[in-house]
């Protein structure tokens, strides 16, 4: 059991996509005493109490989205609506731009995730394996770029997007997010951790760099690629600031931007908490699904995810 600790951590939270721990010596076992049992009970009590604090808000979110507005205000803690209503969801899907927001978020997320998986691994492979002039410089530039804080780029990015004439277009929403330096690093470090022998053999057999990358290296990189998929999906689906500065057209509004404006009351009157919480709940579902799916996938293919 101790042997798989690292992997268990990775997969328990469903994110690491590999990693192994060296075998360890058997542990010193603690002896059972009544005092220990009480302490053990206390630890579970604390863990469960904290879990309740972490989970309860999300349950309130879902429950409130099925409540009427007076009910939501009168019984903020209750998990069971006095009268069940799907009015909030009907309003969102039938009488608002919500479906458009959802569509836009899907489009952006799909393109950004695909782009990052491909371009990050391509560049990561070049930096890890190809021997070429300028590699050191490129690497240094990427390291420097990673230090630039995202939020500081708000205004600057708008300036360039505007200058390029891609303000209010999918191009302006997608292109700037299409690659990320951090992803390149993850891929680079991963490629450096796998054996080079197979590639060398293929190269001797006359395969070109792209061929080697595409049909030999990439299939081996699944754990790292899954990591990129999760990070990109989560990152682009949850991105807000970039869409604020790259669009103003309502037909290009994404979920984050639309719901944020809904929340600050720009598009509505009154509190409308059931409506807002329903919107928040729906936008959480895709990231939650990705989170849980990949957790399971990683667990299933756990043996030999990364072997040296």
């Amino acid at each position: 059991m101790t042997m798989s600790n690292t992997r268990e951590l990775a997969e328990g939270v469903g994110l690491m996509g590999g990693g192994t721990a060296a075998p360890r010596a058997p542990r010193v076992r603690e002896r059972w005493t009544p005092g220990r049992a009480v302490a053990q009970g206390a630890i579970y009590a604390i863990l469960i109490a904290i879990a309740v604090i972490y989970i309860f808000p999300f349950l309130i979110d879902i429950a409130t989205s099925f409540k009427t507005e007076p009910d939501a205000a009168a019984n903020p803690l209750s998990l069971i609506p006095q009268t069940w209503t799907t009015a909030a969801y009907q309003q969102l899907f039938l009488n608002s731009d919500f479906p458009i927001w959802f569509k836009n978020s899907v489009i952006v997320t799909v393109f950004v995730t695909a782009g990052r998986v491909f371009f990050d691994s391509l560049a990561g492979y070049a930096l890890a394996r190809l021997d070429f002039r300028g590699r050191g410089v490129i690497f240094a530039v990427l390291v420097a770029i990673m230090a630039v804080p995202n939020i500081v780029l708000l205004i600057p990015k708008f300036l360039v997007i505007n200058q390029l004439g891609i303000f209010d277009s999918y191009a302006g929403m997608i292109l700037p997010l299409l690659v990320d330096a951090a992803g390149v690093f993850i891929m680079k470090n991963f490629f450096e951790s796998i054996p080079v022998a197979i590639e060398e053999q293929a190269r001797i057999d006359g395969a070109g760099s792209f061929r080697i990358f595409w049909s030999i290296v990439l299939p081996m990189a699944r754990p790292a690629l899954i990591t990129i998929v999760i990070l990109s999906f989560q990152g682009s689906w949850n991105e807000l600031a970039h869409f604020i500065v790259s669009t103003s057209d309502p037909s290009l509004t994404t979920l984050t931007k639309g719901v944020a404006q809904l929340a600050s009351g720009q598009l509505s009157q009154g509190t409308q908490y059931p409506l807002k919480l329903a919107a928040g709940a729906i936008m959480t579902i895709p990231v939650a699904i990705v989170f849980f799916i990949f957790q399971r996938r990683i667990v299933n293919q756990s043996t030999g995810a990364v072997k040296e």
Binding site: L15, A25, P76, I145, I151, A182
Partner: protein
């Protein structure tokens, strides 16, 4: 280009540049060029009309920086207030999120724990959700008649109207302070306001940040805990050290590097808080949730003050880069050479970084 080495090597040069070209072009175009353009805008009198490179736009030197740093006007006091707000946010969030993360990691790292997959997932889940969705939820939970006040009410205490309460929490209800505190000002904000702490509204954002980032940083601590030397731990166990003693004398010192990483990532993230403010309060009530990031956005897109807005962005840049450089410098000293561990550490740092604005 000069011939370098064999034919294979030459083929690799072309492929190398080709493979990295998309990343270089896009990052150059949307990261490097923007920074340079904004640098120009921050020293120009551009008002948002047409191109900042058009003939009518002039170089104005440090004027825009002066506007936000020493003009004595509204722009200065707004910037001062935003700094004060964010400063208190940082002071509270960074230590709290670190303690919470470490505590959670130690708790779920126990060997004999049943259901630890469940606990880890539960604590980590808020980290993957969008800052917008969480902020919307927070607005409801912390509304005047919301869930939080209902719980506080069980103890007979009447909770505040969180997001509408501009009172500094360290003013303890006092509306005005003594003259020796209200008279001196820094950046257009009185000493009395500086020491007043975050407003009640900002405190709700502090709690939000701790709630969402605790899980992210818990992962970092967990990974570090898994790699601790067991011999040392077990020796302490055999010596009969209590678990509290073991934690502070044996475990914690070994976590120094991770602790440092978490603290600096926290510092970097907390200075970027934007999404929550945009979604939740837009700087209200009484500008007490204004942050430099949001102020910069508002000045540019709200009031067409592009020069000062770009100047604020660069000042913020300077603040954040200091922490980044300190972090890189210290961590480089301790760099571990194991490649695989590096891959995992990089990935986790990314995870933590993606917890932007101290959220998610």
């Amino acid at each position: 280009m000069a011939r370098t080495g064999s034919g294979i090597r030459r083929g690799q040069t072309a492929a190398g540049w080709l493979f990295t070209a998309p990343v270089l072009v896009i990052l150059g175009l949307f990261l490097l060029v923007p920074v340079l353009m904004a640098a120009w805008v921050s020293v120009s009198d551009w008002t948002g009309r047409g191109s900042p490179f058009a003939g009518g736009v002039h170089f104005v030197g440090a004027e825009n920086y002066g506007t936000v740093l020493w003009s004595g006007g509204l722009a200065e006091s707004d910037f001062g207030i935003s700094l004060k707000n964010n400063f208190w946010y940082v002071i509270l969030v960074v230590p709290l999120q670190t303690i919470v993360a470490l505590f959670l990691a130690v708790m779920v790292n126990r060997r004999m724990l049943r259901g630890r997959g469940f606990f880890r997932t539960a604590y980590y889940f808020p980290s993957v959700t969008s800052s917008v969705a969480i902020t919307v939820l927070w607005l409801f939970l912390f509304s005047a008649s919301g869930a939080v006040n209902a719980v506080i009410g069980w103890f007979g205490v009447k909770g505040p109207n969180w997001f509408n309460d501009p009172d500094g929490i360290f003013h303890f209800g006092a509306q005005t302070g003594p003259a020796f505190l209200t008279r001196p000002t820094a950046l257009g904000v009185s000493l009395w306001d500086w020491i007043g702490g975050p407003s009640v509204a900002m405190t709700a954002f502090v709690i939000l940040a701790v709630f969402t980032t605790g899980g992210t940083f818990m992962l970092l601590f967990l990974a570090a805990l898994q790699n601790l030397s067991e011999e040392v731990e077990e020796a302490a166990l055999v010596d009969g050290a209590s678990s509290v003693q073991r934690f502070f004398r044996v475990t914690l010192p070994q976590l120094k590097t991770t602790l440092f990483t978490v603290l600096t990532l926290g510092l970097i993230g907390c200075w970027q808080v934007f999404d929550q403010i945009y979604t939740g309060t837009r700087g209200n009530p009484s500008k007490t949730t204004l942050t430099p990031a949001y102020l910069s956005y508002q000045a540019a897109f709200g009031s067409n003050e592009w020069g000062p807005a770009a100047a604020i962005a660069f000042i913020l840049f300077a603040i954040i880069i200091v922490f980044t450089l300190i972090q890189r410098w210290v961590l480089a000293e301790r760099a571990v050479s194991k490649r695989r561990m590096k891959w995992i550490a990089d990935y986790q740092a990314t995870l933590a970084r993606s917890a932007k604005g101290g959220s998610r």
